[in-house]
Symmetry: D2
Subunit: 263 residues, 4 copies
Amino acid sequence: MCRWIAYRGETIPLEQYVTAPAHSLVVQSQKALESTASTNGDGFGMGWYGEHPEPGLYREVRPAWSDENLRYLCRHIRSHLYFAHVRASTGTPITRPNCHPFACGQWLFMHNGLIGNWARLRRRVEALIPDSHYGSRVGTTDSEAVFLAILGAGGDKDPVGATSRVLATLTDLVTDDGHTEPLRFTAALANGRDLYAFRYSANDKANTLYYRESGDNVVIVSEPLDGERSHWKPVPPGHMIVAEAGSRVSCAPFLAEHRAAAE
Amino acid sequence: MCRWIAYRGETIPLEQYVTAPAHSLVVQSQKALESTASTNGDGFGMGWYGEHPEPGLYREVRPAWSDENLRYLCRHIRSHLYFAHVRASTGTPITRPNCHPFACGQWLFMHNGLIGNWARLRRRVEALIPDSHYGSRVGTTDSEAVFLAILGAGGDKDPVGATSRVLATLTDLVTDDGHTEPLRFTAALANGRDLYAFRYSANDKANTLYYRESGDNVVIVSEPLDGERSHWKPVPPGHMIVAEAGSRVSCAPFLAEHRAAAE
Amino acid sequence: MCRWIAYRGETIPLEQYVTAPAHSLVVQSQKALESTASTNGDGFGMGWYGEHPEPGLYREVRPAWSDENLRYLCRHIRSHLYFAHVRASTGTPITRPNCHPFACGQWLFMHNGLIGNWARLRRRVEALIPDSHYGSRVGTTDSEAVFLAILGAGGDKDPVGATSRVLATLTDLVTDDGHTEPLRFTAALANGRDLYAFRYSANDKANTLYYRESGDNVVIVSEPLDGERSHWKPVPPGHMIVAEAGSRVSCAPFLAEHRAAAE
Amino acid sequence: MCRWIAYRGETIPLEQYVTAPAHSLVVQSQKALESTASTNGDGFGMGWYGEHPEPGLYREVRPAWSDENLRYLCRHIRSHLYFAHVRASTGTPITRPNCHPFACGQWLFMHNGLIGNWARLRRRVEALIPDSHYGSRVGTTDSEAVFLAILGAGGDKDPVGATSRVLATLTDLVTDDGHTEPLRFTAALANGRDLYAFRYSANDKANTLYYRESGDNVVIVSEPLDGERSHWKPVPPGHMIVAEAGSRVSCAPFLAEHRAAAE
């Protein structure tokens, strides 16, 4: 049960959402309110887009709340699209490659959730990653495997379609063989121009997700960053946020047909 | 507001108090009950005595709860006298030399508490460390400075007397110049044979301390390690535990005359 | 190109081979003489057997030469069979789970060498790990995959046979498809009583290995620990050292038939 | 014996000097050519000026050569004035606060050199830091103490004068009492607009320093970053580089009168 934020809009310093708000992501690393894990101290990471064609990444195994580097970087790095994530491990080791966000080419991904019984299902999930993307697997998390499976399924060209296909397959996988494992997928995906966020689950409650719009700026968060809760709209379970360049931000059903078909 | 345990008795694996109990020190690192800091994730450390004349030390900046090395070491290292500490920093950096316990020659020391307004008083406290011991100052905490001041004041020969003298001086220091800064000192000191623990404060409430005896074994803790609270005797404020080799464990007043004189 | 030592014999402090000798493993971490990588600063690790049924493990991503914990632990931990390893990564990330030695049940393994073109062959090597052992894969190195493949091939009951079978398969794999990738395997395997070390390669020169016997004690090393080179016997390429409990240490051919058959 | 680079000029990505050149600072961290320490693997750091009034800082205890974060940051952070440093400790612990550069207000400082017999002289050097700056001492190095002494001596208003006064005092200190300790000071100081670099020593040879100008851009380095040695001008011992905003870069004697007077 991690906590994360994603931002797309005017170019701003990362601190505006990562360290400055009353209930900033860094505060949430020590005291989250809507998470089963009140401490998110198993490493953290940030990913951002700037002038370089590929995103920047800063990941660290120490807790976010005591990292001096994080404060300096949030103050100095400015971006029009960035991710930040504080981790509460569900079992995989605390290493930098297991910290979110994950980067591959121009894509960034981060995740709050899990694939239940990862030890048993891991091989089958890793088999969803095509050879073309398996070399990019540098860590051992379920999250990174799902990310590479999405890119391998054509996420590059059709992010929503590929995410749907992979999540449909995972939904089948966790209910296979008479087992019913939980699948929770509250995740964000971006390519430097477009930002997608998903709130989905199977066999369990979906992890919370909120967003706040103001003009063309959108912030998507695990839990509100301040007490003004009326500004933060909850994303319903089974829905996604699509914030594509040049279009209005929309909130739409995600995988509804698949779930309908399955029921 | 840190949490710690100290043990003296039969030779046992460190895990018996550090990782195994229901409310073990490692559990307290994530969820302490009697501490103002519910998370003690700013590094940790262990010190222990074995066959080598000087104590062993293992200190790390990551939180105790996710350190695999800690689990292995607690299982394999056996000792008749050991310390373990999880840290919630009161402002000094998260570095290994700032993690407790501190070692100097055959002495170990650890501390839960603080010297209020350390930035202002630091120089005067560091001036209490004689040149003979200043080379042993490898970190920047108030705790390490107090430890070296105690050794410099003759702690080697007369640990209780030297600790009293230094704490009396500190008590004067924090109430000097019309200022009234808090001083909290819940600390343990050992030399491989004898173990001393102190619960003292000036201008503030003293941090909690409990102990449990069974035969010649004694465990001294910031907060009870299990639900059987009747086994754990609170150490009253202004008291100390003396567990010297060949004598019975005793609980006696600490610095009472000094406080009486001051009032 | 890493450096390692393995010891079996009387119970001694780890420091006797890890930190004390003139050209100790820790010195080699900064200046190895017979290695293509003169610096082995990409993490290190130790594994040892004591009273607990499973081995102890201490692994760290920082270089061995500056780790104060390592010095304390080597002084205090005593063992009759231990491994120590300093790493020069061949590409996989610097994380604790990627540091050697690796532990699984009562087995320890460490490796100096590589499987050429790991990105291309990784999936096929990982496929050699049976499901029963795949849950123990916590890192991403070729070395850990080979270890788990050996255990999965019955290494538990027949360590030399299983290692031979897995290395024969790997030898075929690296020469498959018209490719000729190097395979270098200078490795140690132990279960707390028995110690095995191998020096093997295909399509490349084998990494160096030496040993020194004195009574029932045997030390096996990547390169001699002191200037008395006459004490250190080189293990010839394609040979192994077998040091089983209750038997004399022997040096015997390893995989010779397989190579003969292949030529 | 550390290695460093300082740059002032057009705004460029940090990678241009830190990671990209053939003999970049990161390459020097593993194989320096003109240093007594061939490995500079005891941590590293970068400081840079951007839009925020205070400089950014990224410091880490791991070696520069294996830090993925460093590569991402060097690619994404752009600056008109920046420092980078790889450390070979002369004895003080490997902690982030002991890594260079050091920041205080709008000033950055980094150093290659040492004050001989630091254990003996430390107290007297720390006494040069006025109370106003002692709260900024977060580490334990001689370098940080000299930096804060310079700022305390008026470095803010008169950087060259204050550096001269402090170095004159240090020169006296290291030759005091019949002792003759080495003092080596090859250092850089900046405030976001102006850049100063010094090559000085007493009782020892001065550590190397080179610079390269091109238009208004200047790069100052411990050793040349490429094989075109003709482009790199050596700074003579007892000289400094002054690169103030709006003036031409100049190389001038540093502390010559003091040395003349002393001889």
